[in-house]
């Protein structure tokens, strides 16, 4: 089966730093795919390249048969790609409901903004301005906003940021439920290993901008290259 999203040989440099170095990976339709790696590995850069925030220096990104790099920024959402941000990018002075409605500007999903707020459990806050709400709440507002466009591909950038152990478990079940309810494919950047390994069908590992491993969670966890990237050279340390 053809992948919904194909990242092909993508390189992105910032001055002398190579943030992404010839990275290729596929996200098949209907899967939950995890993208992991130590800090600075290039995970968020990969998201930014896919959503056209950054232009890659080399490579191709194909989404649902379309060359995403030829798609203007404002059309990416229309094609069916939606995302959340690591540090939350909402409109602080606008109401929670208006923030969610912005997600439906380019394309509308089946569910209304009100229904989505209910889905993420925030109906009571619809008319409050986003400013001043707790970080975890804002992350849910962002998720509702991303869902408002009825995306085929949902990019989640560290959705577990700021959550406690118990909440992370809930989030995992929530993401799986969401895939079923919205018929969406999920690409997930996350530091919480238990979460990623627990819900992903497939995991890719980045280190210093290079893809060092990919496969099922079990395969990746056994991969010596991955263990070394996370723990350093075990023999050298000993």
């Amino acid at each position: 089966m053809a992948a919904l999203l194909s990242v092909e040989n993508v390189t992105r440099r910032f001055g002398g730093v190579v943030a992404l170095d010839g990275v290729s990976f596929d996200v098949p339709a209907g899967e939950i795919v995890g993208l992991i790696g130590p800090n600075g590995a290039g995970k968020t850069t990969a998201f930014n390249v896919i959503t056209r925030l950054y232009r890659p220096d080399e490579g191709r990104i194909v989404f649902d048969g379309h060359d995403l790099l030829r798609t203007p920024v404002h059309r990416v959402v229309k094609r069916g790609v939606a995302r959340t941000f690591q540090n939350v990018a909402l409109w602080p002075t606008l109401s929670v409901l208006d923030n969610v409605k912005i997600g439906a500007q380019a394309r509308r999903g089946v569910r209304s903004a009100e229904e989505l707020l209910e889905y993420v459990g925030l109906s009571g806050l619809a008319h409050r301005p986003a400013a001043g709400l707790p970080f975890g709440t804002l992350k849910r507002v962002e998720l509702a906003r991303a869902l408002a466009s009825g995306p085929q591909l949902l990019l989640l950038d560290e959705p577990a940021g700021g959550l406690n152990h118990e909440e992370v478990g809930e989030l995992g079940r929530f993401i799986q439920q969401l895939r079923a309810d919205f018929d969406a494919t999920v690409l997930l950047v996350e530091h919480h290993m238990n979460l990623v390994m627990g819900i992903s069908d497939r995991v890719y590992v980045l280190n210093f901008g290079r893809l060092i491993s990919g496969g099922t969670p079990q395969e990746v966890q056994r991969d010596p290259a991955v263990i070394e990237a996370y723990l350093g050279d075990a023999s050298a340390a000993a």
């Binding site: 925030l53 920024v73 059309r75 990416v76 959402v77 500007q105």
Partner: protein, 293 residues
């Protein structure tokens, strides 16, 4: 007392016109980040367009709405053809361009309409009503009604429609809006179009109250609108409306009871602008901008 109330009502009427033009200033300030010094001349030009349409025999309200449509297109074109090309420059450059537009529009109007005094048809009857001793002019009521209607329609547009939300989002955070599929540059053009419409209404309402008008019709009105917008807070639409009405009422009352003040209204408005900018630069309703350094 009745006399005072009378002055208040006619103050609200002139305040309504200031409020419309102040709203236009706020609209552009919020989306483009600059004060549009050409706002008054855009309104004056629209007023001449309305006069021209009426002169060619169109019925009043046909000419009125046609003028609004032409003004909207004109506002959009000004943004697309002029402002857009300098939109990446510093604020000072954009402001200078709007001052250039002011001079250009003033000169163009003087050239096209020969700089002669014209009289714009008054849509309202010259009747007055006596409400418990307070004499109210139908003209004042008409101006208040039209201004209020425009403000309410605009409010509903911004608060209740998809495009209105896109406009607000684009003004607050263009980069994020683009990521969510908002066509930011068209939203800015739309903002200019709406501001031009607001100005057109202000010009068409104010011209008949002056008896006759020429290309300098809106210069004083722009100063008052500017004072109203600064008083309310340059980024606050509610502030523009409240500021406009307060300014209209206060100037009218003071002008009516202090003989020499009638001639000092313009300097007083400028003094007010200066005072507010010194003491309370965000106005009554404006948000203070905190920049992280």
């Amino acid at each position: 007392m009745a006399d005072v109330l009378q002055q208040v009502v006619s103050g609200i009427a002139s305040g309504g016109v200031y409020a419309l033009l102040a709203l236009a200033l706020v609209l552009i300030y919020r989306s483009t980040g600059v004060v549009n010094f050409a706002q008054g001349e855009m309104a004056m030009f629209s007023t001449f367009v309305c006069w021209e349409l009426l002169d060619r025999g169109l019925p009043y309200w046909v000419a009125f709405f046609l003028t609004l449509a032409i003004s909207f297109v004109g506002g959009v074109l000004i943004e697309r053809l002029v402002i857009h090309t300098v939109s990446r420059s510093q604020a000072l450059t954009v402001v200078t361009v709007t001052i250039g537009l002011l001079i250009l529009l003033n000169g163009a109007a003087a050239w096209i309409w020969k700089g002669e005094q014209r009289t714009l048809e008054n849509p309202f009857p010259s009747d007055t009503f006596d409400v418990g001793g307070v004499v109210i002019a139908a003209q004042d009521l008409g101006i208040i009604g039209v201004s209020l209607a425009i403000v309410l329609v605009l409010w509903a547009f911004f608060q209740r429609t998809r495009v209105g939300l896109a406009l607000r989002a684009a003004a607050l955070n263009p980069a994020s809006s683009r990521l969510h599929g908002v066509r930011v540059s068209w939203m800015l053009a739309l903002g200019w179009g709406l501001a031009a419409v607001l100005g057109a209404v202000a010009g068409i309402l104010v011209a008949p109250t002056q008896g006759s008008f020429d290309q300098n019709l809106m210069l004083p009105v722009l100063i008052f609108a500017f004072a109203a917008a600064v008083l309310g807070g340059l980024d606050s639409p509610i502030g523009a409306v409240v500021g406009g009405v307060v300014l209209g009422v206060v100037l009218n009352l003071v002008g009516a009871y202090i003989d020499f003040f009638a001639d000092l209204r313009l300097p007083a408005a400028l003094l007010l602008i200066l005072g507010i900018l010194l003491l309370r630069p965000n106005g009554l309703f404006g948000r203070s901008v905190v920049k992280r350094v």
